[in-house]
């Protein structure tokens, strides 16, 4: 063992120290790969980490939670209290409210009067004027510089700060009665919280409560909402995680390359060691240990960098979650032992696996052997046909995998198909390098003379190494291109959809922060006031709210289908739009969005069992329409149907169509005048479109950032590989100086090689990228989110990105070219 450690020090560590730059490049590639993985993990956790209701910090932990789609009638609090249970039932309400001078903050309403009476222990409880008192979280207090007994204005009403809750999230808590008054929202509660005494059996209590409640109500254990949120975000986080692993995959190619170079360079030493009695496994572990050393160093550095990156991206992820899924407040980034262990394991494992092949090759070196690069490269050349056949087999397997259904809502086979495609691309790389470089030879010689001739020959001579670099760079390019094509296609699809969907001239919603799942109620008189405004042709009043369907959350909406039919532009997957929409009013029929249909495997003509208030209603699916604003999906009824089951359901949005010839700006101003003083937002059509595009672009900003990192890793790899090529060909480069090559010519030769590497990588990357974009659009996205995306590659952007990558690859060749030009020819030619 001691001898192996000593060998490791001399044979592995010493060269690593000698080639500091190459070692640094490899470790940096690894570190970036690991950094992205841990950054996405940490930021993702932080962005979704605050779903647990902050109210528990004030009122304690609830034992059960009673909820109903469309809200729970408050009379149920009194009714449930009659049950022979050792339990306390408390009304719960959650809204967004404007704090004067500070924007919108979540407001929790709880039964503080009951708590103060001593039923439930509470830090905030005490004799107080609850009508005018609030408890604020520590973060709100710090931000607003307020203390106990300070005055605070919530939604235009004055309150006194009774207490400050030690919580890390921003909220204001007030008594339920005060909240109902504040939001003009009597009778309906978001939920009823159930607190059991220590002697009460939770199963018995749950059974009794269920028996007492109507069919449409749900009784949930605490954490259900948090679990639902986590489940809802699963596909989003999964896809983000997979994207974050791209850099690590690219890094794996580079580790493979580094260890391969290490083995090739030290073949004579390996031969001597074997002759001196070092076992095969001793050699194998020596080279694996080199990879592990790089893996551990890269992972450790990556964790530190990743922690920093996480701070930068947590806001982006949280904004996306807020826009597309549900309201979330980013919590603090916590670098846990678990995340460190995952990152270390991922980095080290990738290093280990990618080095296993070259280490095995080292193990096979015969004791008498002291071959140079040539024999291995010849072997690679001989294998390229076999590799091409293998590549075809992998491509076919990938295609087959792409046709399989998702597993538990996850596109496992889609990802498998993507991995198989990457594998196929990597195996096809040697054939591509040989084919393209051979066909370019005359052109290279003509254009660049001796430098062109030598560059082409050098790349095919080092086929094994060239192929690995091309595969690594091509993988990064392919991911960039495929995500670019997917996002570009998605964007174009959304733009077309916005054009057809957003037909109204003016849109109105209640004031408050915009976010997925947030449908604050409009003041009841809004609709009538607007309908009376001169120039308004039609008013489509929409009632939206979050609801639960089969354990998942979606959005239930209701609008005036006659107006939608007349003015709107809903596009259905099949069927005639007018016929479908005409069938909805006064019938238990609904239309559902495509993501909802895909998520719940719903087809036209099937029945949905919806819990509406206290009742369970069966509605027939009349049509499935294209929709891109919510991954959770919509179920839309006609207003008449919804109000039949939920009579008091408030309107949440209004779409206004102006009369032909009327100027929409003028109508908007008149609407604003007519509704002056009401807490509503009036926005013209264009603003909504702009906002839609802005949210879309923000959502995919992180995707582009991840692609960028993968490209940087690949660039480091290209520089590393070119440097290795230069160092390995020192003798040849020295000889060229003897034969009269100017140092400028050597530089040019290396730069031509870099340019060729970039070209080959672009060709393979583009082909692979196209294949991956099909997988992303038609398999992974469809299975994850349920959207149909039309194929619209952004040609201009792709061309620009590929040119940039090619240019940067050439830049990556500058340093190796400088090294080549500075070699001392006398030294290198006499090394033999």
């Amino acid at each position: 063992m001691r001898s192996l450690i000593s060998l490791f020090r001399t044979l592995i560590v010493r060269p690593l120290k000698r080639d500091r730059l190459r070692t640094a490049l490899t470790v940096a590639s690894m570190a970036l790969g690991v950094a992205v993985v841990i950054a996405i993990d940490l930021a993702g956790d932080a962005a979704v980490g605050s779903f647990q209701s902050s109210l528990t910090t004030i009122v304690g932990k609830t034992d059960l939670e009673i909820v109903a789609n469309g809200g729970v009638d408050e009379q149920w609090v009194g009714r449930l209290a009659q049950l022979p249970l050792n339990a306390h039932f408390a009304p719960g309400l959650e809204r967004q409210a404007e704090i004067q001078g500070s924007g919108f903050v979540t407001v929790y309403a709880a039964d503080f009067v009951a708590e103060a009476a001593g039923n439930i222990s509470s830090s905030a409880a005490g004799p107080a004027d609850w009508e005018h008192a609030v408890v604020v979280s520590e973060t709100v207090a710090n931000r607003l510089h307020i203390q106990k007994d300070s005055a605070i204005t919530v939604q235009g009403h004055a309150f006194r700060v009774l207490d400050i809750a030690p919580a890390k999230t921003e909220f204001v808590a007030l008594d339920i009665a005060a909240a109902q008054r504040l939001f003009n929202d009597y009778k309906k509660l978001d939920r009823i919280d159930v607190f059991l005494t220590a002697h009460e059996d939770i199963t018995r209590a749950e059974r009794s409560i269920r028996a007492a409640l109507p069919a449409g109500f749900e009784v949930n254990r605490p954490g259900t909402r948090s679990d639902e949120n986590q489940r809802m975000l699963r596909a989003f986080r999964w896809n983000l995680r997979v994207l974050s692993y791209i850099s690590l995959v690219v890094g794996a190619f580079l580790i493979y390359n580094t260890i391969s170079v290490s083995v090739v360079r030290r073949r004579p030493e390996i031969g001597i060691l074997r002759a001196l009695g070092v076992s095969r496994f001793g050699v194998f572990w020596l080279f694996l240990a080199e990879a592990l050393l790089i893996g551990i160093a890269g992972s450790a550095l990556g964790i530190a960098v990743g922690r920093l990156m996480a701070s930068g991206i947590v806001v982006l992820i949280a904004q996306t979650i807020n826009s597309l899924y549900t309201s979330s407040r980013p919590s603090e980034i916590a670098l846990t032992g678990e995340s460190v262990a995952v990152a270390m394991t991922a980095g080290t494992l990738v290093a280990f696996l990618s080095a296993a092949g070259p280490a095995r090759a080292a193990m096979r070196v015969a004791p008498t052997e002291a071959m140079g690069r040539g024999s291995r490269e010849t072997a690679v050349r001989l294998q390229y046909r076999r590799n091409l056949i293998l590549a075809a087999a992998l491509a076919i397997a990938g295609f087959a995998a792409s046709t399989l259904k998702p597993v538990d809502g996850k596109p496992i086979f889609g990802y498998a198909a993507a991995l198989l495609a990457i594998g196929a691309g990597a195996l096809a790389a040697p054939a591509l390098v040989l084919g393209v470089v051979r066909s370019l030879r005359p052109l290279l010689r003509k254009a660049f003379g001796a430098e062109g001739l030598l560059a082409g020959r050098s790349l095919t001579a080092s086929l094994g190494r060239t192929s690995v670099v091309v595969a690594a760079l091509a993988t990064a390019i392919a991911m960039m291109a495929s995500v670019g094509i997917m996002v570009g296609s998605f964007r174009e699809t959304v733009m077309v959809w916005l054009d057809t969907q957003l037909r109204a001239d003016i849109y109105i919603r209640a004031a408050g922060p915009a976010g997925a799942g947030q449908y604050p109620a409009l003041p009841p008189q809004t609709s009538c006031l607007i309908a009376a405004v001169k120039g308004v042709a039609a008013v489509d009043t929409f009632h939206g709210f979050e609801f639960r369907y089969q354990g998942q959350r979606a959005i239930l909406g209701a609008g005036n289908m006659e107006i939608v039919k007349q003015y709107g532009g809903l596009r259905f997957l099949s069927g005639d739009s007018n016929t479908i929409l005409s069938s909805l009013p006064n019938h238990d029929r609904a239309i559902v969005s495509e993501p909802f249909a895909n998520k719940h495997d719903v087809r036209v003509g099937e029945q949905l069992a919806l819990n509406l208030g206290e009742r369970q209603v069966h509605v027939t699916v009349a049509g499935i329409y294209y929709e891109y604003s919510s991954e959770r999906g919509y179920v839309v009824l006609d207003r008449s149907t919804l109000l039949k089951y939920l009579p008091g359901q408030p309107a949440t949005n209004i779409a206004v169509y102006v009369e032909p010839g009327a100027e929409s700006g003028a109508v908007q101003r008149r609407i604003q005048n007519a509704t002056a003083g009401l807490p509503i937002l009036v926005a013209p059509n264009q603003l909504l479109r702009r906002e839609g595009v802005r949210i879309f672009d923000r959502t995919f900003a992180i995707t582009y950032a991840l692609e960028g990192v993968a490209i940087i890793v690949a660039m480091l790899g290209a520089a590393n590989a070119l440097l290795a090529l230069v160092l390995d060909r020192r003798r040849e480069l020295g000889l060229l100086r003897y034969l009269g090559a100017a140092s400028l010519q050597l530089r040019r030769m290396i730069l031509v090689e870099a340019a060729l590497l970039g070209l080959l990588s672009n060709i393979l990357g583009l082909v692979l990228g196209l294949a991956l974009s099909f997988l992303l659009i038609f398999v992974i996205n469809k299975q994850s989110f349920g959207w149909t995306i039309q194929f619209h590659p952004p040609y201009g952007l792709l061309a620009a990105a590929l040119s940039l990558v090619w240019f940067v690859t050439v830049l990556a060749g500058i340093y190796p070219a400088r090294v080549a030009a500075r070699l001392n020819p006398i030294e290198v030619i006499h090394e033999e």
Binding site: R445, A450, L453, R457, L739
Partner: protein, 231 residues
């Protein structure tokens, strides 16, 4: 009639290296000249300074003091571009281990110096040289498909492709069997006669030295003896 001016002249050349603060005198007070059409053999044990002298003569290195004159111009006075041009057009090298580029064909290896200098008719000139060394039928072969002797003949063809004034040969037969060595020596001898090159050859072999008109014996970086013959 005045004697022809030498293609290569070394005047009181010293070459000193510093290794770990230790001064090593690789060459001391070397004065030597090589005329067109003659073969000069450098003889001596390993480490006596033969290779250092060849590097100076090939404009690959510079004397610590003294002058190396090629065609009357001191190499120390030339800039990088001039030196490169000089090596390209005036000097040919033959090495002990052939030093052919394994990725290029035989013809391309021979053609390479011409391609580097951007000369016209490179392929034809290279073919002529290959014919001259008797390997025109191996033009498309790769170096590893040739025998050691054939590789060295290709190296000679490459060294002569620019019709250089000076041919530097470092142990050209050191890695060859006798038969192949004789063939290569014959080519080197002919190159002096037919191309008028001044050949400077380092060798351990008496057979190789026998083709030389001038035999310079070296020891510890100094010239011990110069012997001239009429062959």
């Amino acid at each position: 009639m005045p004697p022809p001016s030498p293609r290569l002249k070394l005047c009181s050349v010293f070459r000193t290296y510093r290794i770990n603060d230790q001064k090593l005198n690789a060459l001391q007070d070397i004065s030597l000249s090589a005329e067109a059409g003659t073969v000069t053999a450098l003889l001596g044990r390993s480490g006596c300074g033969k290779s250092t002298l060849l590097n100076l003569a090939g404009a690959m290195d510079f004397p610590s003091s003294g002058e190396v004159l090629i065609e009357g111009r001191s190499t120390s006075s030339l800039n990088e571009a001039d030196l490169t041009a000089l090596r390209r057009t005036r000097i040919g090298f033959v090495f002990q281990f052939f030093q052919l580029l394994p990725t290029l064909t035989v013809l391309e290896n021979v053609e390479l110096p011409l391609l580097l200098s951007g000369a016209a008719n490179a392929a034809q000139t290279a073919r002529d040289r290959l014919q001259w060394v008797g390997l025109e039928d191996r033009a498309t072969s790769l170096p590893h498909q040739l025998s050691g002797g054939q590789m060295q003949r290709v190296a000679v063809a490459r060294a002569l492709v620019q019709s250089p004034d000076i041919l530097i040969a470092d142990e050209p037969t050191g890695n060859l069997d006798t038969g192949s060595g004789d063939l290569v020596l014959n080519l080197i001898s002919r190159s002096a006669r037919e191309f008028g090159a001044a050949v400077l050859m380092a060798t351990h072999s008496a057979e190789a030295a026998s083709i030389a008109q001038v035999r310079v014996r070296m020891r510890d970086g100094r010239i011990e003896d110069i012997e001239r013959s009429r062959n």
